[in-house]
């Protein structure tokens, strides 16, 4: 059976991890936002802006890591805009989020045209190259799949650990979670719900932008329109799939990416030629919906998600 054989090739799993990486960054970002009580639908646009900003910075001559930093800062700026409107002003998080997505996407294209007015094919940059971890990359299968990736992928996995640690082991993480569960509890301890929520949304948005930057700086080496292609919306679903937990969200991202990598390969088998390719493109999404239905039954939504907090109101 060809499909089963595919599952046992290292290159398949390497591709799955690579495809998962931007999803991991952005899903982590969304987890942080939703844990603090803010649904950030700006994710899709922030990923576009991050993809462009990181790539443009490197194209203009900065180092790759500086490029990642630029993407992060651009994401945080959009996070500041989003959280200013949704937290102190308490506006609808759906409307603001979609607005931020539209604004970030269109202003990215505008900036692209301003920066490169005459260009028909977007220029390439020297993107991140795979970094083989000594010894670990020599492990059969696992070595090629996990330890021969680009540094940004390693960063994604490390971030999952860091975010988990901060959320569950530090006073700051406790305050973040409490702000998403019952902001009154946070305010009653003399902490500023506004500051905690805005800060978390900014950091989360920064991660989303880095997820976008992965596409232009690690997966590919150039920027083109429609590059993000709905990945942000997938991340919104992955957050639910992962029950708002970083570790489970990582699992969901890898699972989705594996379906994606699998359908590309199945298309090229003898079986694949018999079926219209659109069917295969559909498969990861259908399986995601099914997985979501099963997984989200027991999910615990942060109790104050999408509930604005106004101090001193009764």
């Amino acid at each position: 059976m060809e499909i089963v054989e595919i599952l046992f090739t290292a290159s398949f799993w390497a591709a799955a991890i690579r495809i998962a990486s931007p999803l991991i960054f952005a899903t982590l970002g969304e987890v942080i936002c939703e844990r603090v009580g803010v649904l950030n639908l700006g994710i899709e646009g922030i990923m576009v802006a991050g993809a462009f900003a990181g790539w443009m910075a490197v194209y203009s001559g900065t180092g790759l890591w500086i490029g990642v930093g630029v993407a992060m800062v651009v994401g945080m700026v959009f996070g500041l805009l989003h959280s200013t409107l949704t937290v102190p002003f308490g506006l609808s998080q759906h409307v603001v989020g979609l607005g931020v997505t539209l604004l970030a996407t269109s202003s990215t294209y505008y900036a692209y045209r301003l920066a490169l007015p005459e260009v028909t094919t977007p220029p390439k940059i020297d993107a991140f190259q795979p970094l083989e971890i000594p010894f670990l990359s020599d492990i059969p299968m696992l070595g090629e799949a996990l330890f021969s990736q680009t540094p940004l992928t390693y960063l994604a996995f490390i971030l999952v650990g860091i975010v988990s640690f901060v959320l569950y082991r530090t006073p700051l993480g406790l305050a973040v979670r409490a702000a998403g569960e019952n902001p009154n509890a946070v305010a009653a301890q003399g902490l500023s719900v506004t500051a905690i929520r805005m800060g978390a949304v900014m950091v989360g948005s920064g991660f989303m932008a880095v997820g976008g930057a992965f596409l232009t700086m690690s997966a590919f080496d150039s920027f083109f329109f429609e590059m993000v292609n709905g990945r942000g919306w997938i991340c919104i679903a992955l957050v639910v799939f992962g029950s708002w937990r970083p570790g489970k969200a990582l699992l969901g991202a890898v699972l989705f990416a594996a379906f994606d990598a699998l359908q590309i390969r199945v298309q090229q088998t003898s079986f694949g030629t018999l079926v219209p390719y659109q069917i295969f493109l559909m498969v990861p999404y259908i399986l995601s919906i099914l997985a979501l239905v099963i997984m989200s039954r027991r999910a615990e939504v942060p109790a104050a998600l999408m509930v604005p907090f106004n101090k001193g109101e009764r």
């Binding site: 305050a175 409490a178 305010a187």
Partner: protein, 513 residues
């Protein structure tokens, strides 16, 4: 007053306005170390507002707060906590999905500390809960705790922060008498350790039991201050109400025809709450039937069946001799059954709707308020204004969102909309929970007036005094079973207590078989 006492707290000239409403008008208050001061007042008198100002949740428009001689900045809870002021809110500020320990340590450590000292915190919580008899597991999720346990967590939260002044906002409103006694025992231990307490309550006997001194607020102003040893309940009630409070007189009942008859009604259990087990009950015109019982013994199930929000699995409901099994809330309302729901916030009102909208909430499809699908807002507003005037609902106007009203005024609106429909049957479920004496007497007098008009009233209450004072016939509900009806004065409170504890029902079973 002891002149050598250390002054823990001094409020001077606190004024706070919400729009046109002056919630606190130049209020001054002082508290000595180790002293318990009770803050007494009607609903809407400004007690909670004053305490929220002290705790820094509202900024006062004018006035100063001094804690142990040092001025406290206005509108800053952090500064209040740092100065040693803690508050247990009436509506708990706990996150249900977090553990007890997480709730207690929230904000107690610097936010940017890399690692929380979880073992140390856990030990401290265990020590405190042992010392003050506040048994609760640090690892339990708050959402799984009972109301009494949640309150222990709230108190532990304050003690964990080493507060020296503790504000308790109606702490016993949600507790059983047993839990309230435990709370008082805990507070006495804390007072012995030098804690000073401000205790907000409506319940006069509690105030007399725990407080050293009582300060009375009325319409946002301090109207009196007295040491508890120099006063009694009647005098306190008079200070609070402005006039001597008198419970309404109960005239003799003249029961008429059976309006609503429940025959062998059964409902399934709801989680830990039992369903009804073959309950039969007849509500007669001009009669108040009281339902006594410990909370969670099937009262909610019975209220749901009568109100139409739940269908019985067996048995029949008969209204005016008409057999009805397709019982829905709308049919119930249209058939002249009016409900005063148990939880006025959850099921009685819609917080962000204004008074007009809430007034017609149950009857907006009635011809009075809508014609061929169009709402008649003028009629609705006139109706709301009529209720406001007739039932003395204190509010800025009919366009005010109802969440801005105090509990008592909210209840008056519900009462008004219920009684103005001239219902045949009134289902009054905990009609005076959380209300002050003035409002309680008012609600009771209105229910008695409805009885005199010929309505059948089913009064469900956990307050035995209330049931015994109003009811012509008392049934006790225990584990979903209904006792036979007892006439007014037939049983003593102790005898009713035995029925409430489930005794006597077995005998009934034997008689039946």
């Amino acid at each position: 007053m002891n002149t050598t006492a250390v002054e823990a707290l001094r409020l001077e000239g606190i004024t706070k306005r919400f729009g046109a409403l002056t919630a606190n008008d130049a209020v001054s208050l002082s508290l000595n170390k180790g002293e318990v001061v009770a803050l007494l007042g009607e609903n809407g008198a400004g007690k909670t507002t004053l305490m929220n100002i002290l705790f820094g949740q509202y900024a006062a428009d004018s006035g100063t707060v001094h804690v142990f001689g040092k001025p406290l900045p206005s509108g800053n809870s952090r500064a209040a906590l740092d100065a040693g002021v803690g508050m247990v809110h009436q509506h708990f500020t706990l996150a249900d999905n977090l553990t007890v320990q997480e709730n207690i340590t929230l904000g107690a450590e610097p936010l940017l500390r890399i690692r929380a000292d979880r073992q140390g915190a856990r030990q401290r919580i265990l020590d405190l809960s042992e010392k003050y008899h506040l048994q609760v597991s640090p690892d339990a999720r708050v959402g799984t705790l009972t109301v009494g346990e949640r309150q222990r967590v709230e108190i532990l939260k304050a003690l964990y922060r080493d507060v020296r002044i503790l504000i308790l906002d109606e702490p016993t409103a949600v507790l059983t008498p047993q839990e309230a006694d435990d709370l008082f025992a805990t507070l006495r231990l804390a007072i012995a350790d030098g804690l000073s307490i401000i205790f907000i309550s409506h319940k006069l006997h509690e105030v007399m039991a725990i407080a050293d001194r009582v300060v009375v607020l009325r319409h946002g102003k301090v109207t009196g201050g007295v040491a508890t040893k120099d006063t009694d309940k009647a005098a306190l009630a008079a200070m609070m109400m402005g006039t001597q409070a008198q419970p309404p007189k109960v005239a003799a009942a003249m029961p008429g025809a059976v309006l609503l008859q429940l025959d062998q009604v059964c409902t399934p259990d709801q989680g830990s709450a039992p369903g009804l087990k073959s309950v039969s009950l007849a509500l007669k015109a001009g009669q108040i039937i009281g339902l006594a019982g410990v909370s969670g013994n099937g009262q909610a199930a019975l209220a749901d069946v009568v109100g139409g929000t739940a269908k019985p699995t067996a048995g029949t409901l008969t209204l005016n001799g008409d057999d009805r099994l397709d019982w829905t809330p709308r049919i119930a309302v249209q058939s002249g059954i009016a409900r005063i729901p148990e939880d006025r916030h959850k099921t009685g009102t819609i917080a962000d709707f204004d008074l007009t909208e809430n007034a017609i909430l149950e009857r907006y499809t009635a011809p009075d308020f809508s014609k061929s699908g169009w709402l008649n807002w003028r009629a609705a507003r006139d109706f709301a204004n009529a209720i406001i005037t007739k039932y003395d609902v204190r509010c800025p106007g009919p366009d005010t969102p109802i969440r801005l009203l105090s509990g008592g005024n909210m209840q008056k609106l519900i009462l008004g909309r219920t009684l103005e429909a001239a219902p045949q049957v009134i289902l009054a479920n905990q009609p005076v929970r959380g209300l002050d004496i003035g409002a309680v007497h008012y609600v009771h007098s209105q229910l008695l007036a409805a009885r005199a008009r010929g309505a059948a009233v089913l009064l469900i209450s956990e307050d035995l005094d209330e049931v015994m004072a109003l009811s012509d016939v008392i049934h006790v509900i225990s584990d979903g079973r209904l006792s036979p009806g007892f006439a007014r004065g037939e049983l003593t409170p102790a005898q009713l207590g035995l029925w409430m504890a489930g005794q006597g029902f077995e005998d009934e079973m034997k008689h039946a078989s």
